[in-house]
Amino acid sequence: MLGELGIIFVSIALLISLALIYFSFNEVKNSSNLIPKKIYKFSLLQLIFSLLSFVALLAGYVFSDFSIINVYENSHTTKPLFYKISGTWGNHEGSLLLWINILVLFSSLFLFINKNKNKNFKIFTLLFQNLLIVIFFIFLLTNSNPFSTIYPIPNEGMGLNPILQDPALAIHPPLLYIGFVGSSIYFSAALSALVSKIDAKSLATSIKPWILVSWFFQTVGILVGSIWAYYELGWGGYWFWDPVENSSLMPWFVMTALLHSVLVLERKIGLYSWVIVLSILTFTMSVAGTFLVRSGILNSVHTFANDPSRGLFILTFLILMVFSSIFIFFKHAPTENKNYRILSKEFFILINNWFMIFFLAVVLIGTLYPIFLDTLTGTKISVGPPYYNFILAPFLIPLLFLMTSGPKHKWISSEIKKFINIVLFLSIFLFLITFFIVKENSLLLNLILFFSIYLIIQTLFDLYDGLKSRSINLSRIISHLGFGLLIFFIFINHIFSQESNFNLRVGETKETDNYVIKFENLEKFSDSNYKSIIGHFKISNKKKLFKENLKPEIRIYNKPMTVTYEASINSGFFSDTYLTMSNISDSDIFNIKFQKKPFMNFIWLSVLLVSLGGLINFFNRKNSI
């Protein structure tokens, strides 16, 4: 029943989208300055039906309607309600429906909220956005229908991959989707700006809030994914330069570049074409990332069941999108004077943009190179963290410096700022203290450490000055402070992390350099969807008298039958103690991985600060970044 209902809703939404394309196409020729009411009504109806289709699938999951293949394959009656709900987007078809819903949501919101007076700009944006929507509806209905039904109806479902049964991961896809699918709206708006030739300021003010929204969600989405990897995958790391992580990071770089250059555009200083290129590039990178993840040419935790026809569809869409964007761009691109004053604010923003594009290129090459090499020569290689660390780390130094000094410069004026001041001396002093504590020898790491401290101190001074003079640019200060702290804590974490691997039996004790680990006993536990073995460990420090109890778990899920290793993490204010155990079966020997990770919470909080800056800017639109 729900399956048929879902198909009806999707079909109606598709028809409405087609009607919207037809109306907006006709409306372009109409000389009236007002957008007719029927377009608003249809857009609202489109949103309602598309949301209804999502609700139908959601209901299928919540009430375990196994007549829908998608529910049968990805759910189970004994699953907790929370994971039944998150199962809706924990598979290719369901997530595609969510993807379309976000396209539609942003389309309607843009139409209703955007205050731009230029009718053609809004109509063309609606037109381009609905072309995207129609293409994805067709993809959904012809290739990846979440509402396909089966008969006879199975009694029980096959279950959700247990590795996905995690609170962080349940919210990770929707967050990221709002981020990178949300970028579709400024993709459409950018193309529309070219065609309708609107001026720089109104383009900037029209797309800025959407850039901030998508950037905020993208940042938080990446953060949640990273936290999940840290807790669930049991390797004790939080960023692996895995191709899939890279796919989420690449649009983020472009969004960050866009976020800064739109400020220049807002002041009518220039960068009109550049903002348009970046807007197109953001969504292109998002679709390219989706292609890499869904087509199965990469193997990772994110690859859903393989189906080459999907990859072909997304690739065809990507090709159409890229070439039509190039065509529209070259046909309509305005000419503008490119002369920016050296050492002005816009000059630094431009440099920031080149850094972001450089980071994008490095990550893109690292991600695509193995695929290209394999296809062209048959050689299989993998590009790992050393490549990224080696190439990206040195560039952090000038980036951090620019983030420190750039914002102090004024718009459209060249002046050389004195930078020998109290901030510099204080930073050098704090750096020397840190240096004598950590005793790191590498020049590169020390420079990164110094410049991150310099950025932190400078932004704190900016905060103080801003509060004193009551003209404060809070969002910039918070984001830049967050970034400085992020680099600083990653550095400290990198240096002070400890790890040891060993085997233990119940009752035995292991001594590492600084800690004593006692394996006290073993407990068996069973829940509705899994059984587990829980180890009880007592960790104590040799020097100080502190004790921690850790309980790592080995879970055996029944639907589908899978074993997962749940790390036990004691998250302290300054440091995390991380313990995983593996190798069950009926033996009494366990392999233990013990890690001490300082400042993990500070790393998460720094990223939250970075994203918070974007949110503040969104709600405080009077101020400039």
Partner: protein
């Protein structure tokens, strides 16, 4: 000038898309179906728990051989074990186990508890030799005839349907 830019950009993107398209056709790299009908790679495996090795050439001594990759830590292996035990009753089929990235003690306990279907048991504690057989996850099972030709590959646990299929294949 503008046209040259346009041309260069189009060529650049076309190149990327062509390669991506090709890689899409290529994406069967993780699928080892294409090994069926080919000769099994020669490999020398250490015997489990004792000195000595087993060379895959020795498979030619038996009418049919089933190579099974398993480990005590692997849940699905537990599930398929009863099917292996059923198959081990066939006269003209020898099951050769490859204990994959496992701890010897655990593996021994596993067999003691569940029963031992293996005619010969070998081990691949580092998981490197199994790669020669196209194994990238366990359980995986390969049916080989006396000419060392791979007749069938099963990725994931053997079901009772698979057992019937194997029984049919080896009766011919």
């Amino acid at each position: 000038m503008k046209k040259i830019h346009l041309l260069l950009i189009c060529i650049f993107f076309s190149f990327i898309f062509i390669v991506l398209y090709l890689s899409l056709q290529n994406s069967k790299i993780y699928d080892t179906e294409n090994l069926v009908g080919k000769k099994i790679t020669e490999s020398e495996l250490n015997l489990f728990g004792k000195d000595g090795t087993f060379n895959t050439k020795e498979i030619s001594n038996y009418q049919f051989t089933l190579l099974n990759f398993w480990a005590s830590w692997c849940g699905p292996c537990r599930k398929e074990h009863k099917n292996l035990l059923r198959l081990s009753k066939n006269e003209n089929l020898k099951i050769i186990g490859v204990n994959f990235k496992d701890n010897e003690y655990n593996a021994r306990q596993f067999l003691q508890e569940m029963g031992n279907p293996f005619y010969i048991l070998t081990e691949d504690s580092k998981g490197k030799k199994s790669v020669n057989f196209g194994v990238y996850g366990i359980p995986e099972t390969i049916l080989v005839n006396s000419e060392l030709i791979i007749l069938k590959k099963y990725i994931g646990p053997l079901s009772s349907k698979d057992v019937n299929e194997i029984s049919k294949l080896i009766k011919k």
